[in-house]
């Protein structure tokens, strides 16, 4: 049960962190499009949390919980979303796109593109003969994108160490997966790349973690890539305040709440005899930690215009001979 308790604790942090971000978005302290994560914590903790520091994670336009689970600090992620210099991208990227190379975390707001990018990270890993792997997360909607196909094929013929995780949260904006994805299970697409069909109920965080570890190990052994469909449910709208009534029945959301990963993990823990007070204490600790975080975050500076440079104009430190002098004075 200690393992599950740990996973539960991590999910609890993400749940509250997401809630906090949502509040900050409503207060207009997070400025860009913000995509809530509630209900999908089983994926972040189960999959992203299974990676080593030297593994690379490529995430999406809904990246904040992935980032934290991968090992970016709450400070760096939150202040990035708040546009402060202390953020992963120095506040230049925002809530949908930031890079944290020191934590081997990258995300972006163009759906599907990361499947192609992943092949390059993994190619370098393979060539460097490390046993690092690259994990690439994308949504059910992204699985209809051309880059999904091209990236999977390339990774497969080159045997690259990529764990492709399709985070099927049932919706792409207002598009229900069953109407827009032409196969019953997204994992059915695996066969087209000579890969195994793997679907996991990612609301069961232990099962998600088990499948993640197996896939990662497979890739470390040089037997990648692996494609996994991680099934979950997007409990909130695509963004805060989207017109949900146009695409789903509130009853479906209620039903999904019954199956969401925190509830399930908690029930299991209680069943196994864990003291509820202990779980409550965990929660209080999380809340207190996040409150301190926010206070600190609000004091951080915004970047100034100097940060918005086009790096092309800058002469190179390490190879000045390849640049003419006028590149200094653009």
């Amino acid at each position: 049960m200690d393992d599950l308790k740990k996973l539960y604790g991590e999910m609890l942090l993400l749940r509250h962190f997401d809630q906090q971000c949502m509040d900050l978005k409503k207060k207009d302290i997070i400025y860009s499009g913000y995509h809530p994560y509630e209900g999908q914590e089983g994926v972040a903790v189960g999959f992203c949390g299974a990676l080593r520091g030297d593994d690379v994670l490529l995430s999406t336009h809904r990246p904040h919980c992935h980032a934290v689970a991968k090992g970016c600090t709450l400070e760096a992620v939150l202040t990035e979303m708040m546009g402060r210099v202390t953020g992963c991208s120095g506040g230049l990227g925002g809530a949908m796109q930031f890079l944290a190379p020191e934590d081997n975390f990258y995300c972006g707001s163009v759906v599907g593109s990361n499947v192609g990018l992943a092949t390059g990270f993994a190619m370098a890993m393979k060539q460097n003969k490390t046993d690092s792997v690259c994990m690439c997360l994308f949504g059910d909607g992204a699985s209809n994108h051309g880059t999904f196909h091209e990236g999977l094929n390339l990774a497969a013929i080159w045997n690259l160490p990529v764990v492709f995780v399709c985070e099927n949260n049932q919706f792409a904006e207002a598009m229900p997966v069953e109407e827009f994805v032409s196969c019953e299970r997204i994992s059915a697409r695996a066969k087209g790349y000579g890969l195994e069909e793997i679907t996991v109920d990612a609301n069961d965080v232990e099962e998600a973690r088990r499948v993640a570890e197996e896939a990662i190990e497979k890739c470390r052994r040089g037997e990648g890539p692996v494609l996994i469909e991680a099934v979950t449910y997007r409990i909130k709208g695509h963004y805060v305040g989207d017109p949900e009534a146009t695409y789903r029945d509130p009853k479906d959301v209620e039903a999904a709440r019954e199956k969401e990963p925190l509830k399930r993990a908690k029930e299991k823990l209680l069943e196994a005899g864990v003291d509820e007070a202990e779980l409550d204490a965990m929660q209080e600790a999380v809340v207190a930690k996040l409150a301190r975080l926010e206070t600190w975050a609000l004091e951080q500076e915004f970047p100034t215009l100097e940060a918005a440079v086009d790096h092309v104009g800058i002469a190179l430190e390490n190879a000045p001979e390849v640049r003419g002098p006028q590149s200094l004075v653009l």
Binding site: Y31, G91, M96, S109, H145, F302, A307
Partner: protein
């Protein structure tokens, strides 16, 4: 005249054209259920049904290709690419097919279609959701490129774009959707390729597009108080360019400034600047100035993005400098 938002003017154009011609259809991500990201097609799925309003998967290449195929079959599709940043994924279909097929068939294949998208900054969505990419399309033979700046213009131009037999790239600005303006109740069209003189003036011609038009007009008002009279021209169609209107204006004012949100380098502002120099060289008191966005990815945050693009103040400042300047050209000295 009723006052409506830019978004509502678009909806009206759809509504009228889809009523008039059942071949007109809208294809794109969440154009149906959601009525588009900025709600410009709300209610239309209910009214016109899925034959005319088509929600699609996230497949920008296929969607664009679908539009080309449908247009070749005589439909009049409007393909919506949610953000212009993602039109990068549809470029093959637009450039190698839509732009080429009419010529390649000696005019037999008509492609009455619109690639409709929105670009620009102002909604704090960072560098992958805020680009100005319009000059990509001006640069490609076989395409018409439109960038409206007001509710009145967007409605009249969109209706014309839908009726045109050539592929039109129609670029809205995300910061304009909630702007309001007068739109007549009776039907009207605005021809493609005709500029609009948004303000008449004597001392300086300002050519501005899209969101920048309102900033230029604000700057012009302020400058008027200082005794500088600006003519503000909105070409509306970037290509074919209404050179006549611009040239006529510059012959009168003797000075020209081009204002774009896009950075100058490699941009459409250079096209206008070149055209003006080529045609008005002997009328110019000083070289045409390009007052444009910074050459950078639009940064995130509450204020930084607005510092990267022209503002009413910066336009006024640049205009003041330009009017103060009198450059002697060599030609005259000979």
């Amino acid at each position: 005249m009723p006052t409506v938002t830019f978004g509502e003017a678009i909806r009206q154009a759809y509504d009228e054209e889809m009523t008039r011609d059942k071949n007109v259809c809208l294809i794109g991500e969440d154009v149906g259920r959601w009525g588009s990201l900025y709600r410009s097609s709300r209610g239309l799925l209910e009214k016109f049904g899925p034959d005319q309003i088509k929600d699609t998967p996230i497949s920008e290449a296929a969607i664009a290709g679908c539009g080309v195929g449908a247009a070749a079959m005589g439909m009049r599709p409007i393909v919506e690419i949610m953000y212009i940043d993602f039109i990068s994924i549809s470029m093959d279909q637009i450039v190698n097919h839509a732009a080429k097929w009419r010529q390649l068939s000696n005019g037999k294949v008509k492609l009455p279609m619109v690639f409709k998208t929105q670009g620009g900054a102002g909604r704090r969505n960072s560098s992958q959701h805020s680009q100005c990419l319009e000059n990509w399309f001006v640069y490609v033979p076989g395409l018409i490129t439109v960038m409206p700046s007001t509710p009145y213009d967007v409605k009249g131009l969109l209706k014309s774009a839908i009726r045109d037999d050539n592929p039109v790239v129609f670029i809205e600005h995300k910061s304009l959707y909630f702007d309001k303006g007068e739109v007549p109740e009776e039907e009207y069209l605005i021809p493609l390729g005709v500029a609009d003189v948004k303000r008449v003036g004597e001392d300086l011609t300002i050519v501005a597009t899209s969101w920048m038009v309102s900033f230029a007009l604000k700057a012009a008002e302020q400058l008027q108080e200082e005794g500088i009279s600006c003519e503000v021209i909105d070409p509306r169609t970037l290509w074919p360019l209404d050179k006549d209107t611009i040239i006529k204006s510059v012959r009168k004012t003797g000075r020209c400034m081009v204002v774009t949100e896009a950075s100058a380098e490699g941009g459409w502002s250079g096209e206008v600047s070149s055209v003006v120099h080529e045609h008005c060289f002997s009328d110019l008191r000083s070289p045409v100035k390009r007052h444009c966005g910074m050459r950078t990815g639009i940064p995130y945050g509450p204020t930084l993005e607005m510092q990267c693009i022209p503002s009413a103040e910066s336009i006024a400042g640049a205009a003041r400098d330009l009017v103060a300047q009198e450059v002697t050209a060599a030609g005259a000295a000979l």
